[in-house]
Amino acid sequence: MKRAGTEASGVAVWLGAASPMRSIRWLDGTLAAAAKFGSATAVAAGDPTWLDLAADRANRAGLSCAGVPTELQLDYLGWAQVMAAVARQLGASVILVDEASRPERFPEVAALAELLDAAQLTHVIALAPDQTKERGAVIHASRVSGHELQTCRIRGSVVIGVRIAGPAIDEYPTPIPSASMKRLDLAALGLDPVVLGHRALPPRTGQPTRRTVARVAEYLAVHVLPRKGT
């Protein structure tokens, strides 16, 4: 059994506060990218079912896992506060974020970087850690920026938003409660749930599927390209 915070020094993976939508292959891809660093700790927050799934997938990737059980529903900055506290406790200076599994995860990359005073890089589709005597620790990353594929070199403290798919998985075994997951409560992280509640999402009913031309057109309207002018 691996223990979070002991073996894994330096690298953590933020898997978010809810299970992936559609597929877990992007979560697996992020974990596999983290495994290239040697040791890393996967971190999740939220309900017990999700934490068990996160711990199970992390174990399969050979990573340790830490979970923050909570019923809070927070915005991007709220969850970033939680993960930043965990990262400090783990001593992590390189943090990967699974950007692709849920839409709300993407802004958490920047929020986390801001709270940790780290550099940030989003939309990363390939990663390769590199340690040489001459250059020190460097991470090579490829990212998509608009219609460009950029190659980047990263040194030092960084939060990286990752969009890397793992192998296709049609079905996966139902995870059982994990004994190896280190459970961290908010108080132990120095976080007050009442204060965090200021970043709570307002209660909102889920949007039903749009089924009329008008509603679908309204949804797509914000994606229509503005015409060049002026």
């Binding site: 597929s23 692709a100 802004p107 190659t151 960084v158 229509v224 390209l225 002026t230």
Partner: protein
């Protein structure tokens, strides 16, 4: 209310069209809420080594090369233009322009910051700006209303004049306006510090974007009427038209016509047209029935909108 700030990305020597959309939304909000509308951009000047004063130097002097931009922003409705000058090469990442952009935020302390959702640096700068000023964040919103304008996103989130706190909003397509004159004030901030040395962009090559895709199945692609409408839709959205793919994809949005085989990430929005089954999980919108009919009506609605 306080300042309304619009971040401007450049497309050559002109404001990026998506930034002009954000400026149009900002004009509507500032006029409705009673604020001053600032348009701000970061430019590179290799000769400017910044100053030792960490707060930057403010001047109202002439800045070579931004006259075209200033005129465009003035016509787009800006009340004032702020230019942050950095010695770091401009790139659409926080590491390159974040320090200079922070100078703009410190100078103006805005209540509302807008980015063009399709502008190159919106994805990197928008959320980081929100985190830095502790703001609410709306992704893909637009201004709605006439007298009482509010910003509303696709999923029911909104920002109104009566709301407390700061907000950062990435503005989706909004028709650029021509409301102002060519002569407005320009403030220049010479920002020290340059880029963040922890991120080095070593090179870049062209690639397909990851924004929006329109996917079509073989049967629908064989129908000239559907294919024509699909191409019009793809043109409106600036999206490639793709067929079934086993490659996992993570676009921001996928419009699926018929039943193409796709492996989409959870972060992707999905609209289905002419799919025989209805009510699947994680479907944001769907028009059932014949794909040709649904697609034709949808394209017409978007073109008229």
């Amino acid at each position: 209310m306080g300042a309304v700030l619009v971040h401007i990305d450049l497309d050559g020597d002109r404001p990026h069209p998506s930034s002009l959309s954000a400026l149009a939304a900002g004009r509507a909000v500032a006029s409705s809420w009673g604020g001053t509308l600032y348009a701000a951009l970061v430019i590179h000047d290799p000769t400017d080594r910044g100053s030792t004063d960490s707060t930057g130097q403010i001047s109202h002097s002439h800045v070579p090369g931004v006259e075209t931009v200033r005129a465009a922003l003035a016509r787009g409705g800006a009340d004032k233009v702020v230019v942050a000058v950095t010695d770091a090469p401009i790139a659409a990442v926080w590491a390159a322009v974040g320090s200079a952009w922070q100078g703009v935020l410190d100078h103006l302390r805005p209540r509302l910051v807008l980015f063009g959702a399709d502008a190159p640096s919106a994805g990197e700068l928008g959320p980081r700006t929100g985190a830095r000023i502790g703001a609410r964040l709306l992704v893909r919103a637009r201004a709605v209303g006439l007298d009482h304008v509010e910003l509303r996103d696709r999923d029911g989130g909104y920002i109104r004049a009566s709301d407390g706190g700061a907000a950062v909003v990435l503005i989706g397509a909004t028709k650029p306006t021509t409301v102002g004159d060519d002569d407005i004030d320009i403030v220049v901030l010479a920002m020290p510090g340059g880029g963040d040395p922890r991120i080095e962009i070593a090179g870049s090559v062209p690639t397909d974007g990851q924004g929006v895709i329109v996917a079509i199945d073989e049967v629908s692609a064989g129908d000239p009427q559907i294919l024509s409408a699909a191409n019009r839709l793809a043109g409106l959205l600036g999206a490639p038209l793709v067929k079934s793919s086993a490659t996992p994809l993570a676009p921001e949005l996928c419009v699926s016509i018929g039943t193409p085989t796709l492996d989409l990430a959870g972060a992707s929005s999905l609209i289905r047209l002419g799919h025989p089954k209805t009510g699947g999980k994680h479907v944001d919108g769907e028009l059932s029935g014949l794909a040709a009919t649904a697609l034709g009506e949808l394209v017409k609605a978007l073109e008229e909108g």
